[in-house]
Amino acid sequence: MKLTFSAADEAFREEIAGWLQRNLCGEFEAIRFRGGPGDEHMFHEQRHAWEQKMAEGGWTCIGWPKSVGGRGCSIEQQVIFHEEYARAGGPGRVGHIGEGLAGPTIIAFGSEAQKQKYLPGIVSGKELWCQGYSEPGAGSDLANVKTKARFDSARQQWVISGQKVWTSLAHEADYCFVIARTDPDSTAHKGLGFFLVKMDQPGVEVRPIQQITGTCEFNEVFFDDAVCAADDMVGAPGDGWKVAMGLLGFERGVSTLGQQMQFQNEFNDILRIAQQNGAAQDPVLRQRIAKAHTELKIMRYNAMRMLSGQAGSDGALQREALIYKLYWATWHRELGELAMDVLGPESQILEGAPYQLSRLQAMYLFVRSDTIYGGTNQIQRNIIAERGLGMPKEPKPTTAGTQ
């Protein structure tokens, strides 16, 4: 155990802090502290430009190996990067699905050709990705995907048909990674493939879904004979589930570090308001504020512990990692409730028409999705109990994987 940073790490901290100070200004001043949870629809163009600015400075994909265009940063350095990025008010990253999910999956499971074709666009901050997993009939039961991929041997390409849903940023993305059924007679997690699909083609239609925040961050994506070259399947037909699950491991890994720092910024906002409006004098609210803070710190310590012990590059996680999603999502939802109670009666007044939420109001609504996406709290508890603690599995339904 070593809970301090080395001199080299502190030098790294100065480097990133200095770079942010010199660059997150001028045309980018307006997007400081913007584009976070509940605000992710704002300033897309400017944040995309910022992503490319980050790339010029070598600050995208910093945890990736240098051989694939990353910075090869240690876990400690990535921790420091996220701390400084949050402290400077770095905007929500539009490239996070590519950098955090698609890229690591391609690095772990992709071919050399796929690495050469896709990774540079992610590193440069130019090409954006979205995730084609959930379907109307495949939410918690993700393996129940119905989207089909049929191989057209004459043209040497896959032809994909089906519907994905809750697809974040599909309307801005250049590519989508899609799980689809390569074997039409298969059920559940067998017979799936993992495809890298170009969004700008006739067979792909994106329809926005309005959220309870009134904004549209996620979408329905319709594939109607969309095509994907044979070379753009990751792994072999039937490998889709293995690749998809590896990716979910990445979703629960390093990419969460930045999120905690965003939480810290939200907490600081709430604390400041409580001090200004007198809520901090209320004994109940004082205790809830203190509780939120201790739990945020616990979350942070546990993330460090988890990352220190992370094994292998396949995204496989150790037991303590299983608890993380449930913990942060539940904590964040409570933070939203705390924010509204600290604001009191003023929490019901919007900033303006039409339905212009303040950052904390947007957060209060957005956190409702935290306990749902990427595996609901209920699914997380099953995973903890069954995989983490070894409790008996739930009985199988009589008609597995059908509706």
């Binding site: 959930s134 009939g137 939410g139 918690s140 039961d141 129940n144 849903v165 809750w166 879904i209 309005q210 959220q211 309870i212 009134g214 809520a279 209320d282 109940v284 609210l285 939802r333 409730e337 509204m340 109670d341 009191g344 009666p345 003023e346 929490s347 019901q348 007044i349 919007l350 900033e351 303006g352 028409a353 039409p354 339905y355 212009q356 939420l357 109001q361 409702r368 999705s369 306990t371 749902i372 996406y373 609901t376 709290n377 209920q378 508890r381 099953n382 739930e394 339904p397 009589t398 008609t399 597995a400 994987g401 059908t402 509706q403």
Partner: protein, 354 residues
């Protein structure tokens, strides 16, 4: 000792419930979000025809002469359908305030008669609320100024619209100047009127919160019965059953607090603070838990604008903070409990507790 409602009270409530269910649909609520006033004059006139705004107006002024206990079940039903029209604020908050002053103030008497016929409408402000709701469709506003209530024509005030987190609500900051001639009540009677208004406002909000909570659970029970994953209805999973059961426990245990508060407001209004605060806290907790668990049980669908659930969730969010948020009411409970003369002995479950 009898917690049951009378047959008359239940039958009246059932009739209103049927009316509200057939007239106040989610589609109608949504259409109100885009209209200029957000209010539906046809619907209001229908409610006038049923005598609803005049339920607590004394018979001498053309009303039904009923009391808060008679109205509380109706207020619950208003919450159940997420009614946007200010029926609860009018019938439970505004008209009793006017009725109190009617004997010595002819303006109030005449106004009550016109509320009963639907010719006039009134909105009510209070220091605990940063805004006045539905001031734009009111002909008169009842506005607090220190220990006074004033009755002010809408033409004499400036309304600044504020956007609510609940798209159905219409909120306004009011700029106005108190005049001698607008003053309705002051001094000790003014203090009493302000206190009684707060209690009736909080009682009405609590009742609606219970109705909202039950409606959210009902639609979620339906959804989790219809939606399948892993080859079976998602509602067959214990985790979701327990979510709904927890809501039912909170709601059912908030109801007696609500009914006790309604009884106390109608029978012993000066001793109602404790009972009303208890009801508002319990109902707010029940509604917010229902909102949280019902969205969770709907999964991503519950997070969409298209799904009707957020209509109820946002009303719960707004009403939990209106007429005193939970911290305000918990502090009132605390002050009451810490009073050295508080009547909290074993023999003091009911009766005078002030």
């Amino acid at each position: 000792m009898d917690f049951t409602f009378s047959d008359d009270q239940r039958v009246f409530c059932d009739n209103v419930k049927q009316f509200l269910h057939s007239e106040v649909t989610p589609e109608r609520l949504r259409s109100g979000w885009d209209s200029a006033s957000g209010r539906d004059d046809t619907l209001w006139q229908q409610m006038v025809d049923l005598g609803l705004p005049a339920m607590l107006v004394p018979e001498a002024f053309g009303g039904l002469g009923m009391n808060e206990l008679d109205f509380v079940l109706l207020a619950q039903e208003c919450g159940r359908v997420a009614l946007a029209e200010p029926l609860v604020e009018t019938a439970l908050v505004a008209t009793p305030l006017l009725a109190c002053q009617a004997e010595r103030d002819t303006r109030c008497a005449s106004l009550l008669e016109k509320i009963a016929t639907g010719e006039r409408r009134v909105a009510v402000g209070h220091a605990v609320n940063p805004t006045v709701s539905d001031a734009h469709v009111a002909d008169y506003l009842l506005l607090p100024n220190g220990n006074e209530f004033h009755l002010v024509e809408r033409e004499r005030v400036k309304l600044i619209p504020m956007q609510s987190v609940d798209p159905s609500r219409r909120l306004f900051k009011v700029e106005w100047r108190p005049e001698e001639e607008t003053r309705l009540v002051n001094g000790a009677p003014g203090v009493a009127a302000l206190a009684a208004t707060l209690n009736r406002g909080a009682l009405g909000a609590a009742a609606q919160l219970i109705g909202l909570a039950e409606a959210m659970v009902e639609m979620t029970v339906q959804y989790t019965t219809d939606r399948t994953q892993f080859g079976r209805a998602i509602g067959s999973n214990q985790a979701l059953k327990h979510h709904m059961a927890n809501c039912a426990v909170k709601t059912e245990f908030a109801k007696p607090a609500l009914y006790r508060a309604a009884y106390t407001v109608s029978q012993r209004p000066v001793h109602a603070d404790f009972a009303v605060s208890h009801a508002k806290v319990a109902a707010g907790e029940a509604a917010l838990l229902a909102a949280k668990n019902c969205i969770q049980s709907h999964g991503a669908m519950g997070y969409t604008w298209e799904c009707n659930l957020h209509i109820w969730m946002k009303r719960a969010w707004a009403l939990d903070k209106f007429w005193g948020h939970s911290g305000f009411h918990k502090n009132r409970l605390h002050q009451w409990l810490m009073n050295p003369n508080a009547k909290i002995g074993a023999d003091k479950t009911f009766g005078e507790q002030g």
